[in-house]
């Protein structure tokens, strides 16, 4: 789809439209084609291979083709398995409940109470910024934040709320849950916000006029209309928690385990058959959970059914008049609290990055210096941060563009029922859950067997797409779901052809959501570790370099990287918003786009 092709097709007079009429089913297949090919080749095939391997015999130096059930028997009979499943489910349910409350209210606040589109975008991006600092760096910051001598305990003692440091704040289930909520609230808020966007404020006014209380209109109007977003957010949060390994390990101090941590111990010892068996059981388990959820809210069906509620510009007429209801202040306070929570550990990073030359990554500060910032760019250090940053940036940009294009097309494809849509949906879900180390290992091994050179922009790119595309697809479900088809019909009635309809109607309306998918994919790729490490070839991305760095040293330079990243992010966002505001002033308010 080159620019030129688009341009010429728009200019082309209507009667000139090729009469080639594809059946809707074929159109859907073409739209989901790229997604299917990538997921089948890079995910489903390796997974089939692992399914076979899970029945193999093995010892320290080899795999032996066989059909034995030992790997499954050992897995299902050890008490460890039931314990990790119970514990992961427990985490998942608690985190789901918290992120649902938090995410829903944040989304509601941003969509219904923030009246200015630019402000809304700015606030959303504000929630993203902490995640552009490497997850590894953020994790390190929890120790000086929540530890015995950490900032939070110091604050509590300073306020005389406690006389001695609280131990349970770190290396505990509490710490695990806090970190999950920190990481995943956005996964819930995003899809819900998209669902809320399609609700016409006039509906709420109508409900109020009909005598409904705030609570009643919430329960009877808003929640039912946002159930697709809630379901999608739930899937994302659930799959993330069930498939997690890093957070549980780090935040419980290794005291708790997750389903994947057992698997990773096996991979560390090159015990692939039991690891494969472990992964198969996990994927099946989560797929069943999702299937149950689909019985309650079938998100694919929601896409197919016509949007029955009209959405109109909400920027100007909201909740009638200027008087802010008390809920505005309550939700604003909640959102503020969320931001404090989001940036709390980040503040520790910012402060400690100015650590003196003899200081470390924990308190106390030993003097103040900018040495660690200098060290980032100084040659001959333990890690080459600038070069690997460049690689990560390039890779993330490419992944982001590809994800947007492929996921948007697929999102449109899923608006019709087509044969195979169910299978594709569950392959995408499985790709989200499948332990990343195993996916990366399978892709790396495939390249090895075929004699292809692995590299950042070949195997690593592919591995990352198996991760960002399912995310993109689910996010697009939420985005497309907010879309009212009557706009498209109106465009067709007015004589627009398919391209014109897409370029001038559908995409502009969906633009905020699509940009959200792009930013999300960028964030995921930029910080990806587990799928990249076994596919990156011989050049490290930033997360790989940072992980190598913490494996052989400990230096506040990591925090300096975090501070620079944040400053850079704010700069980029600031400039972008400024440009948008200028553009809007010139053009006048954009109608129909929120």
């Amino acid at each position: 789809m080159s620019q030129q092709a688009l341009g010429s097709s728009i200019r082309r007079p209507r009667f000139d439209i090729p009469v080639l009429r594809l059946s809707p089913r074929v159109v859907s297949w073409l739209q989901v084609g790229p997604l299917s090919v990538i997921l089948v080749v890079l995910f489903a095939l390796p997974t089939l291979l692992f399914l076979v391997v899970s029945f193999f015999d093995y010892d320290r130096t080899g795999l032996y083709p066989a059909f034995i059930l030992d790997n499954y028997r050992e897995l299902l009979t050890t008490p460890a398995t039931i314990r990790v499943y119970v514990s992961s489910l427990k985490f998942a349910v608690i985190v789901w409940a918290i992120t649902l409350c938090l995410g829903f209210n944040i989304a509601y606040f941003l969509m219904f109470h923030v009246r200015n589109g630019v402000t809304r975008t700015a606030l959303f991006l504000l929630c993203f910024v902490p995640f552009w600092t490497s997850g590894i760096i953020r994790t390190i910051a929890w120790i000086p934040f929540l530890g015995r001598n950490g900032a939070f305990n110091q604050l509590l003692m300073h306020l005389h709320l406690t006389s001695r440091p609280l131990d349970f704040l770190l290396f505990s289930d509490f710490a695990v849950i806090v970190t999950y909520v920190h990481l995943h609230t956005l996964l819930m808020a995003g899809p819900v916000a998209n669902s809320l966007a399609k609700i016409d404020p006039a509906l709420l006014e109508a409900a109020r006029d009909a005598g409904a209380s705030r609570w009643q209109s919430m329960v009877n109007v808003v929640i039912p209309l946002s159930k697709t977003g809630i379901a999608l957010g739930s899937i994302l949060v659930f799959t993330q928690v069930m498939g997690d390994y890093f957070v549980v390990k780090q935040m419980s101090g290794g005291q708790s385990a997750s389903i994947v941590s057992a698997l990773s111990t096996e991979i560390q010892a090159m015990q692939y058959p039991p690891a494969a068996a472990n992964a198969m059981v996990l994927v099946l388990f989560v797929a069943v959970l999702v299937a149950v959820l689909m019985r309650v809210v079938d998100v694919r069906k929601e896409l197919v059914s016509r949007g029955d509620v009209a959405s109109s510009g909400r920027d100007t007429h909201m909740m009638g008049g200027d008087a802010r209801p008390w809920t505005f202040y309550a939700l604003a306070a909640l959102f503020g609290a969320y931001l404090v929570f989001l940036y709390g550990p980040m503040l520790v990073i910012y402060v400690l990055s100015f650590q003196g030359p003899d200081g470390g990554v924990t308190f106390p500060m030993v003097g103040v210096s900018v040495l660690w910032f200098e060290n980032i760019v100084k040659p001959g250090q333990m890690a080459n941060i600038p070069v690997s940053f460049g690689r990560s940036l390039g890779l993330a940009a490419l992944v982001s563009v590809l994800t947007v294009v492929i996921a948007v097309a697929a999102g449109f494809g899923f608006r019709r029922r087509f044969p195979g849509s169910g299978a594709l949906f569950y392959i995408a879900i499985a790709s989200l859950v499948m332990p990343s180390l195993l996916v990366g290992f399978g892709i790396g091994l495939g390249f090895q067997v075929l004699g292809w050179e692995p590299g950042l922009f070949t195997s690593a790119l592919g591995a990352q797409l198996t991760w960002t595309l399912p995310f993109g697809l689910l996010a697009m479900f939420a985005v497309v779901n907010r879309f009212n088809r009557s706009y498209e019909e109106a465009a067709s009635d007015l004589g627009a052809n398919a391209w014109q309809r897409l370029i001038h109607v559908s995409l502009p309306i969906l633009l905020p959501g699509i940009l959200g998918v792009g930013v999300g994919a960028f964030t995921l790729s930029y910080d990806e570790y587990a799928r990249t490490t076994l596919t990156a070839g011989n050049r490290n991305t930033l997360p790989l370099e940072i992980y190598a760095l913490i494996s052989s040293s400990s230096s506040p330079m990591l925090f300096a990287i975090g501070t620079v990243t944040t400053a850079f992010s704010f700069l980029v966002i600031g400039v972008t918003l400024w440009a948008i505001v200028r553009m809007q002033r010139r053009r006048g308010p954009l109608a129909g786009v929120d």
């Binding site: 093995y58 320290r60 130096t61 080899g62 050890t78 460890a80 314990r83 990790v84 514990s87 390190i140 120790i143 530890g147 015995r148 001598n149 131990d167 290396f171 390990k249 101090g253 290794g254 005291q255 708790s256 385990a257 057992a262 111990t265 096996e266 991979i267 560390q268 010892a269 090159m270 015990q271 003899d358 470390g360 990554v361 924990t362 308190f363 030993v366 001959g380 333990m382 080459n384 180390l437 990366g440 290992f441 790396g444 091994l445 090895q448 050179e453 692995p454 490490t533 076994l534 011989n538 050049r539 490290n540 992980y547 190598a548 760095l549 913490i550 494996s551 052989s552 040293s553 400990s554």
Partner: protein
């Protein structure tokens, strides 16, 4: 083999540049004639060769590759990967790697998988300088070394050039060239333990409830605990580095009991974590790495790499060559492995507190004060700096544990992969989830 007579002088130059202000013996600046001994064709060809060196972060240091590139005339590219990832990369991306630092324990996984090729001893310039602990399993004074765990001698020699089987004793081929080694023990916060620590048993002493930590790695974690429970007298092992199922069961049962009592504050996986746990005071006793202890101390926090009466847990790396190397690239890799053992690298990692398997070559690149401090066990004659120029020890300090052979000469057990590792992994997972 080409002549390498100018090697030492070049080393002098780079070291001088490296250790600003540290006086060195005069060296000749002969940078461009680095490969003067080679035929011209060779020198032309190797310009375009790149050797990709993969290793764990501890050894895969970019600065070493830069120096090698300068000295050798071809490019060496260094890539660090976290340990477990590295092992899996050997299998999934072996074509992207040319040479690698392979830990002694990983040799047990990769040998027989057609990943590495053996290296003929005849091609190794510094073989006779390699410590007898590696080549003969004995100390310079003739004492036999511990063979508990994966002792270097057991996995060093290969039966043939394909390197797919370990030879019982010395042969003409090695699976890899010994490079880095060290003796690990408990790191301790003497200001917080309240009493001197003398035994591994203190790791599981109830006095330090909630203030001890373990390395989250089945093969190392269980050996540390085995050292402790044996020292306390709970269990007696035939070979702590190669336990029977029964020994694994008994040890894991004890570990679960200890864990349940709240002994462990955390299980750590990375260097950084071990430093932060110690520096923040979350933990006061745990098994550590030498430079991690140094890192805590450079922040002005007291920390000791405590010698214990039961001895040390040893580990090491060898320099391996991937199977796919051949022709010119193989020749370059052999040049590189000889350069690697010739001293620059050994001196570099010495300044981080690790030992070279060829200490005599490293000595040539260290100042007298450095050699005496890191290897000699003598008080530092001047301030000691790390490879990046930061002062890590003040003049007058003596290295914890003393001289090279006082530490390496007292290894009780080596890091290990046990025969029952399949069973151990399962039981370890049960322990971690308990």
């Amino acid at each position: 083999m080409p002549k390498r007579s100018i090697k030492k002088d070049r080393g002098g130059v780079s070291r001088r540049r490296f250790l600003k202000g540290v006086s060195t013996t005069a060296g000749l600046a002969v940078g461009s004639s680095a490969i003067g001994g080679f035929p011209t064709v060779w020198a032309q060809n190797i310009k375009d060769v790149t050797i990709n060196h993969a290793g764990p972060p501890v050894t895969a240091i970019p600065r070493i590759a830069e120096q090698a590139t300068k000295d050798l005339g071809f490019t060496v590219h260094m890539q660090a990967s976290e340990n477990a990832d590295l092992l899996n990369r050997f299998l999934s991306q072996s074509n992207a790697i040319d040479v690698a630092d392979v830990s002694l324990t990983y040799m047990r996984y990769v040998t027989g998988r057609n990943i590495l090729q053996a290296i003929p001893i005849a091609k190794l310039k510094y073989w006779d300088q390699t410590i007898p602990l590696f080549t003969k399993s004995e100390y310079p004074d003739g004492r036999k070394a511990s063979t508990q765990g994966i002792a270097p001698y057991g996995i060093l020699y290969a039966t043939g050039p394909d390197g797919q089987k370990f030879a019982e004793g010395p042969s003409e081929w090695v699976t890899g060239v010994p490079s880095v080694t060290n003796a690990d023990t408990l790191g301790v916060r003497p200001d917080l333990t309240g009493r001197p620590i003398t035994s591994w048993a203190d790791l599981i002493s109830p006095e330090f409830k909630g203030k001890a930590a373990l390395q989250d790695n089945p093969t190392i974690g269980i050996i540390d605990v085995a050292m402790a429970v044996e020292a306390r007298g709970d269990l007696k092992y035939g070979n702590k580095g190669n336990m029977t199922r029964d020994e694994i069961d008994k040890t894991i049962a004890l570990m679960m009991e200890i864990k349940k009592s709240g002994q462990f504050r955390s299980f750590w996986t990375s260097f950084d974590q071990s430093v932060n746990l110690m520096a923040s005071g979350e933990v006061v006793i745990q098994s550590m790495w030498s430079p991690a202890v140094t890192a805590v101390r450079t922040r002005g926090i007291p920390c000791v790499f405590q010698p214990l009466k039961e001895g040390y847990r040893g580990w090491g790396y060898t320099f391996g060559m991937m199977k796919h190397l051949s022709g010119l690239k193989l020749d370059c890799a052999l040049e590189y492995v000889n350069w690697y053992a010739s001293g620059f690298q050994g001196a570099f990692i010495a300044r981080q507190g690790y030992y070279s398997a060829q200490p005599e070559t490293a000595k040539k690149y260290l100042t007298e004060a450095e050699w005496d401090y890191w290897y000699g066990g003598k008080p530092a004659a001047s301030d000691i700096v790390d490879p990046y120029g930061k002062v890590v020890e003040k003049a007058g300090r003596v290295r914890d544990g003393g001289a090279f052979w006082e530490r390496m000469g007292n290894i009780a057990v080596w890091n290990s992969v046990m025969d029952e590792d399949r069973y151990l992994t399962r039981r370890w997972n049960e322990f971690i989830t308990s």
